[in-house]
């Protein structure tokens, strides 16, 4: 056995034993409080009442309270989530079957999740609801006003385009999928053209047009504010000069563009730092989940 394999095996056995010990101490269990719900039918004249129970997660220390009980499905979920987290982290040791298994599960669940969200948040309310409003109100209780119960036949257009889009999967009719794709591309281009020019191009230039010399309300010269504005204006201009590739970067232009490079390096450095911090925050979130929520250490 290789030395590294031996070390990892010892570590994993020790980790597994510790997890079992923590589990035997009552950690890794979810307790819920039962909240009874009672709702009456919204149909006029109907007095029927419907009852069900909602569950509210409570801290483990409250497990002996009234109406609080152990919840098996959420406990299994907690252990599944912990397994998934550890399985992904196992990639740090190297590509392995456990990682590949969870990766495959992730792909499948993500695709299914995206489809379900698209179906319930877009297709049902905005397509089915427009074409068959009375049926939609009857089945799904959408917030449809009584006055807009007439079907909007214009929505047959996106329905037809959507069917054409799905033809992309068919070997013969896939060229028809270009039509909805063209609509998609055209709409994106039209929306982006205006929004980017308005918010990013004009907006950023507007924000950069500011005074070099700033005076306070009492007429005094605000040195720090003036310096800030000057740095921002010079920075934006020098960065723009660097991005202007239609002229040779020689002589004066070369020095200005070099200043622009320095500003860009500052931007990239700060952006990198932010990215690292974001990832570290996610990592600490996962470790917090493992140690506190699952193993009950430090909670």
């Amino acid at each position: 056995m290789k030395q590294s394999t031996l070390i990892w095996t010892i570590l994993m056995v020790a980790g597994g034993a510790y997890i079992l010990y923590q589990a035997s101490q009552g950690h890794g269990r979810v307790f819920v409080r039962e909240v009874p719900v009672e709702a009456k039918s919204s149909v006029k004249g109907s007095e029927q009442t419907y009852e069900w129970t909602k569950y509210q997660v409570v801290p483990a220390k409250d497990k002996n309270q009234k109406d609080v009980r152990f919840n098996l499905s959420r406990t299994i979920g907690l252990w599944v989530a912990a397994f998934c987290t550890l399985a992904i982290f196992s990639f740090l040791y190297g590509d392995n079957p456990v990682y590949k298994f969870t990766e495959s599960v992730f792909v499948g669940v993500s695709a299914g999740y995206a489809m379900v969200v698209a179906f319930w948040s877009e297709i049902i309310p905005n397509l089915f609801g427009k074409l068959f409003p009375s049926k939609a109100k009857e089945i799904f209780f959408l917030d449809i006003e009584e006055k807009s119960m007439e079907p909007d036949l214009w929505y047959l257009v996106p329905l037809v385009m959507s069917v054409l889009l799905l033809l992309r999967l068919s070997p013969k009719g896939s060229w028809l999928a270009r039509w909805p794709l063209a609509f998609f591309i055209g709409a994106t281009a039209g929306i982006r053209l205006i929004s980017y020019l308005e918010a990013d191009f004009v907006g950023q230039i507007q924000n950069t047009i500011m005074p070099f010399i700033v005076f306070g309300a009492d007429g005094s010269w605000q040195i720090v504010e003036s310096l800030k504005n000057t740095i921002i204006i010079l920075g934006v201009v020098s960065c723009m000069v660097y991005f202007f590739f239609s002229i040779e970067h020689e002589g004066f232009v070369k020095y200005v563009s070099r200043l622009g490079v320095w500003f860009l390096m500052v931007t990239f450095g700060a952006s990198f730092a932010y990215t690292v911090m974001g990832r570290i925050a996610l990592l600490s979130g996962r470790l917090e989940f493992l140690f506190q929520d699952w193993l009950g250490i430090g909670s």
């Binding site: 709702a39 919204s42 009442t49 419907y50 979920g77 599944v80 989530a81 992904i88 982290f89 740090l92 969870t102 495959s104 599960v105 992730f106 499948g108 669940v109 695709a111 299914g112 995206a114 489809m115 698209a118 179906f119 948040s121 877009e122 089945i139 209780f141 929505y155 385009m161 889009l165 799905l166 992309r168 039509w179 909805p180 063209a182 609509f183 998609f184 709409a187 281009a189 039209g190 929306i191 982006r192 205006i194 980017y196 918010a199 990013d200 950023q204 921002i232 920075g235 960065c239 723009m240 500003f263 860009l264 390096m265 500052v266 450095g269 700060a270 952006s271 990198f272 730092a273 932010y274």
Partner: protein
């Protein structure tokens, strides 16, 4: 025909949407086009799911290496789909208790919520968290002060990283509020890492971000015009594909 109609559709759609920004009378057209766009985007997810199904089934039927994982993907996909589409474990909306389908599909306690909370969420968060190790390792190898620009990048990254964490406060929190050399607007505490980090973000990062944003806006505008005028037809694919 196979290329002309799509070009016409994209041009008309794009110019109508541009027109809505200038002619208030067209605003309703623009809203309708946006609603259609969202519906098509939703169907694009279904197309994506269908494509995933096709690819994984091909992998399984031809018994390619790792076909077992393709089967796992398909099983996870179908379980999620059934749980979400049939709203398994979802209770009705309290305002419409007689309608069994009226509850929210992501309602707490439902099977779809369980899959989201205990599988999708931990997996996606851990996948991104894993990048922390690789980004640190990449930085360790790439961040060498080889020249002045690389040194600036390194120093700024370190200042911002330290300044935005407890380490910055711990290292430089003790700097006094006294003026430097009697200069009223500058104090020793202005050189603390959190303050320096704030100045970098407010003053020195802004020009770079603005220039990049302006560049992106110009790029998007020119690409959009190329697409709408039919100069860029790459989205139509090749003729062989038809």
């Amino acid at each position: 025909m196979k290329r002309t109609i799509p070009l016409f559709i994209s041009a008309v759609t794009g110019f109508v949407l541009i027109g809505t920004a200038f002619i208030p009378k067209f605003v309703d057209w623009g809203n309708d086009a946006m609603a259609w766009f969202n519906i098509l985007a939703a169907f694009a997810f279904i197309l994506g799911g269908g494509n995933l199904l096709k690819m994984q089934l091909q992998k399984i039927s031809s018994q390619q290496p790792g076909w077992g994982y393709a089967a796992v993907t398909l099983i996870a996909f179908f379980i999620t789909l059934v749980a979400g589409l049939f709203k398994i474990g979802v209770y009705p909306n309290v305002n419409a208790a007689q309608l069994s389908w009226s509850g929210d599909f992501l309602q707490e306690g439902s099977f779809f919520w369980w899959l989201y909370e205990y599988i999708y969420n931990p997996l996606s968060a851990t996948m991104f968290a894993l990048l922390a190790f690789y980004i640190s390792s990449a930085a360790f190898r790439a961040f060498r002060a080889k020249n002045s620009e690389a040194t600036v990048l390194l120093v700024i990254a370190v200042i911002v990283l330290l300044g935005r964490t407890y380490a910055g406060e711990w290292l430089t929190g003790g700097l006094s509020d006294e003026n430097i050399l009697g200069f009223q607007e500058v104090k020793y505490s202005d050189f603390s890492l959190p303050h320096l980090s704030q100045i970098i973000m407010d003053v020195f990062t802004t020009p770079g971000m603005r220039a990049i944003t302006i560049g992106i806006a110009l790029g998007v505008a020119s690409t959009s015009l190329k697409v709408l005028l039919g100069v860029d037809r790459s989205y139509l694919g090749s003729d062989q594909e038809a």
